[in-house]
Amino acid sequence: MHNDVSIVVDGLVKRFGRFTAVDHVNFQIHRGEIFGLLGPNGSGKSTTIRMLCGLLTPTEGTARVVGYDVSSQAEEVRQHIGYMSQKFSLYNDLRVIENLRFFAGLYGVKGALLSERIAWALRMAGLSGGEHRLTGELSGGWKQRLALGCAVLHRPQVLFLDEPTAGVDPLSRRDFWELIHEMSADGVTILVTTHYMDEAEYCNRLALIEAGRIVATGAPSDIKQSAIRGDLILVDCTPLGRGLEALRHAPGVHDASVFGAALHLVVDAAEDSLKYLPEYLTSLGVSVHRIEPISPSLEDAFVELTAKGRSSAN
């Protein structure tokens, strides 16, 4: 059922004067997929989204969203997409129902469909009975779901989410992602842009973007496994400072850094290091309390991949 392609991006480039914001980006997103574009601020995420929404014309390359070309059919594209951002402002001085009617008007939702969709959005957001509350008085989780309701009033086939749950409390965040998973199960294609690693973990597939270029694509677990050359090891030892100093110069160790009350190492082979390092540290007067292999995080993968990109660019 995932064989339908909903978004095709092919050699997309956007230059602003001499600055290349998006540099030959390619990806495809299947219908019903939750796809994340993960990268730091200024990496080209927003420029890519604005091109996919038909708001900005590509300098080179093409992009098709549910079959429509973003350059020549921008109007059709906009009718089939929804957009929501954590920063996206609902009108705080309007009542809940007034915000919904405003966005329904904007998306051209009319007639019998209007009351049906508004009732649906209220139910989904858990705001049935709260239609007349002032939007500004709602707490973060409610506002977020109302914003989502507004973004999908016109039943878009593609939904763009821009850092949708940044800074939101974890319970509301999980409720929100439950809703997103339900929409994806109904066949809505979801493109999330974020610089938060933990938001990216919710996506089925990710593209990591840095300085306008895609440095990796794949499922979160595949990216984590393939990005790191070597293995990661946790070392809990005292004194921590002396341990760090010793490990920076230990054979087979590429990198050593403090992580909370312990050290994280990147080593050639975990098996060898686990045998060798305890004795090595003890001989230097460092007591080892715990040493074990650990799985890389998405941040570990991201740092590794972008560091590669940076050194090859220099």
């Binding site: 509350r133 973060g140 800074g167 319970l171 509301s172 089925n204 400072g241 992580f259 009350a261």
Partner: protein, 316 residues
């Protein structure tokens, strides 16, 4: 325990009807990184502003670097550094001019100044940018310059309000490396963050939710508060797996995450074979099932539901 340099007891701050900080108690020692961790609006900034002596609590006592903050807020200011979220850098001054400006404010002697300047530029990797206008730095570099300015005098306590928000992962790691080296020098560093995954980098943490303390202790202790453990199940259709396993005995919660499902179970050793057997019988395609360490977010969600605290999605 004489190394305690920050002690806060029963801090409460109201703004009108809002209780921004509610009966908060915690402490920090020399050479320790204490994280104040919680979502937006949980009271982190208010707590830091009170510690810095720029906001008086309604109730409560604080001792910071030997000074009584409530009774004598001016005294504390010369012994600490405080970097608010929007730290005042002069965008039309260069990197080195900004640092010198703060050296003047903190009355750093000219003998100490040269050495300290160079040390800070080196530690923050900004020596090559000393002549660049602050307004032309990236977000991560601005934060590093902010920290350098805040450290031009040698504080006993460093208070940083969300220094890593919006900073790319590489710069974020560099910032943390700076914090660890300060802690090694004996500075008590108190840092707030809304990134729950950053809590793991702190030696102790104060987990905040709606102005209140959910937990105060080490990350390892925090994770022990989650009864049972966590399993991850890989699968082609995580959503289908999630719907199925939530009905299994001993499964407390299940969450689809990317290409896996994360479960909280009451007893991993006992439930893993049961879950494997039931999954196999269901005919769903699934991959590796393994025990995973809970993330701070998992424990946060558990603590909030356990303590019956209202969340923002339950109070409309």
């Amino acid at each position: 325990m004489n190394d305690v340099v920050v002690r806060a007891e029963g801090l409460t701050k109201r703004f009108g009807q809002l209780v921004a900080v509610d009966n908060l108690s915690f402490s920090a020692q020399r050479g320790e990184i204490l994280g104040i961790v919680g979502p937006d609006g949980s009271g982190k900034s208010t707590a830091l502003r009170m510690l810095a002596g720029v906001l008086a609590p309604d109730i409560g006592e604080m001792e910071v670097a030997g000074a009584d903050v409530v009774g004598n807020p001016e005294q504390v200011k010369s012994r600490i550094s405080y970097m608010p979220q929007h730290f005042g850098l002069y965008e039309d001054l260069t990197v080195i001019q900004n640092i010198r400006f703060y050296a003047d404010i903190f009355e750093v002697s000219s003998a100490d100044r040269r050495r300290r300047e160079q040390q800070l530029l080196d530690a923050s990797g900004m020596s090559a940018f000393r002549g660049r206008l602050a307004g032309q730095l990236s977000g991560g570099m601005k934060r590093k310059l902010g920290i350098a300015c805040a450290l031009i005098h040698t504080p006993q306590v460093l208070l940083l309000d969300e220094p890593t928000t919006g900073v790319d992962p590489v710069s974020r790691r560099e910032l943390w490396a700076i914090l660890y080296s300060l802690a090694f020098e004996g500075v008590a560093v108190i840092v707030s963050t809304a990134y729950l995954d950053e809590a793991e980098r702190c030696q102790r943490l104060l987990l905040m939710h709606r102005g209140r303390s959910l937990f105060f202790g080490t990350p390892v202790e925090l994770k022990r508060t989650l009864p049972g453990g966590m399993l991850s199940i890989a699968g082609a259709d995580p959503r289908a797996i999630q719907r199925l396993v939530i009905s299994f005995e001993g499964v407390v919660s299940a969450m689809a995450m990317g290409d896996t499902v994360h479960l909280v179970v009451d007893d991993t050793a006992r439930r893993t074979p049961e879950i494997l057997a039931q999954l196999s019988a269901s005919g769903l395609v699934f991959g590796e099932v393994k025990e995973i360490a809970p993330a701070v977010e998992d424990v946060f969600v558990y603590a909030v539901s356990e303590q019956g605290l209202e969340t923002s999605s339950a109070d409309a």
